[in-house]
Amino acid sequence: MSAELSQSSGARKRSVMRGVGMFLLIPAGLLIAATPPQVEKNIETTATPRISISNLSGKVIVKGWDRSQVHVNYTSSSPQVTVDTEEFPPQGPVDKVHFTTYIIDHSTPGEAATVDYTLQIPAGSNLEIRNPQGLVQVESVQGDTSVESLGGNISVADAGGHLAVRSVGGNIEIIRPSGRVEAYSINGSLHFVDPATSRLHGTTTSGNIVYEGDFVPGGDYILSDYSGNMDIVCPPTASFELNAKTVRGKVNNTFPLVSRHSSAPPISSANSLFGTYSTGKATLELTSFSGTIHIRQK
């Protein structure tokens, strides 16, 4: 009897253990099966390769580093979405790398066709990114950089070469650029922080523009918006020649300018301000149709 009891007790224990095991294993299995496909690669490159990323939706994060190597890590949301990598030349250190996201099954809904990229690339790379939806972040790339999005926000920091950023609906943030800058958005806002460049052109239709920082002597800074407000915040040590014009908006300035009076007929219903601050080393051209332009000291 006791043997029977101990046998049945042992059997019960085993079945309990099995149950616990299943309880743990099944979710683990499901978790592994549900984990989106992730790929990590290292590609040996020259010191100044051309890198391009053509994505559909998702985050794209790129940082420059001091190795002649591209380290990429991408995660796709679905096995029906894949990334094609092309490297040129086929042998030896690569000079061009293209990453392209493809949908294998076109019935995959748009929100499921997401690939998140994280890359480290040689700092001297030339970079081109197309990412219609999703955040793009670029940091410390010294070559020429071009970023295009449809609705995603774009943030670029410490770019060295020619920087061209375009979006239809995304906000654009550019921090400490040292090369020429062109930034365009239709509905998004533009934010420039401490530019060290002498050529900067920013345009938005309905977004706002904020410029925080100094101006490089001899530099040209052209900022234009339509209905948004413009806020220029610079140190008292700045030196610029100002052309600020609006059609229906206003110009508010706190810098003591040497005003320039014109004898030409004024633009009716426009509020404009022309003048020089300090020695007028940089040129600021600010235009807004109906927004307010603020120029103030930090």
Binding site: T82, D84, Y102, D105, H106, S107
Partner: protein, 213 residues
């Protein structure tokens, strides 16, 4: 390649349309598209088995064609040129998707399930004719490499030496893949169609109204 289809009466021949298209005549572009769209689209659809992909590839093929139309000098038939371009567009697309094509060291198992060969056994025949829907389904289930060769040879009329050049394989490989593709299709039809005398593959007479198992 198979013989070209006869010209549609009342439609300007390709040479005239091409000359007008080279001068930027929009109507000529439209007419060229209308004249060749079905063949190009059908090729793309049969090779990919997917309507959206086929539409994209058709667009891509015609765009490439129209962009290069100024370089067309009439050395070959226009339709041949267009068709070859469309085939290249489709194959490039399939390669980019990483779908297996013919490899030089092709083995039985590298293209899906092993093919059941009829060696002196079953004498069942396929019934009557193979309808379009069944053919579409059957070809859609072929492995990509078999499908490409079957479509290029039996549907589009390319010769084996042309297929070998297009797909970068040997003539022998092309012939072998075609044969395997046909055997696979036969196997599919045998599994999905009635046997002679109205019996299904189990030998039973199905209920009225059912044609396939």
């Amino acid at each position: 390649m198979s013989a070209q289809k006869p010209a549609v009466p009342g439609v300007a021949p390709d040479t005239q349309l091409i000359a007008r298209a080279q001068r930027g005549d929009e109507e000529a572009f439209t007419a060229l598209f209308e004249a060749h769209k079905r063949r190009v689209y059908s090729l793309c659809l049969r090779m990919t088995g997917n309507v959206a992909e086929a539409e994209d590839l058709t667009q891509e093929a015609f765009l490439q064609l129209f962009r290069k139309i100024s370089t067309f000098r009439g050395e070959s038939a226009f339709s041949t040129w267009l068709h070859r371009l469309a085939v290249n567009v489709v194959l490039m697309h399939l390669r980019k998707k990483g779908l297996s094509q013919i490899s030089l060291d092709e083995t039985e198992n590298s293209q899906g399930d092993p093919i059941k060969r009829d060696y002196g056994g079953d004498d069942r025949r396929l019934v009557g004719s193979v309808d379009r829907i069944a053919l579409t389904r059957a070809i859609g289930e072929l492995p990509p490499g078999y499908r490409s060769v079957f479509i290029l040879h039996d549907v589009e009329g390319y010769e084996h030496n042309e297929i070998a050049e297009i797909m970068n394989c040997s003539v022998g490989n092309s012939k072998s893949q075609l044969h395997k593709a046909r055997l696979k299709l036969r196997e599919w039809f045998q599994q999905h169609q009635l046997q002679p005398r109205g019996k299904d593959s189990t030998g039973r007479t199905p209920p009225e109204g059912r044609e396939e198992q």
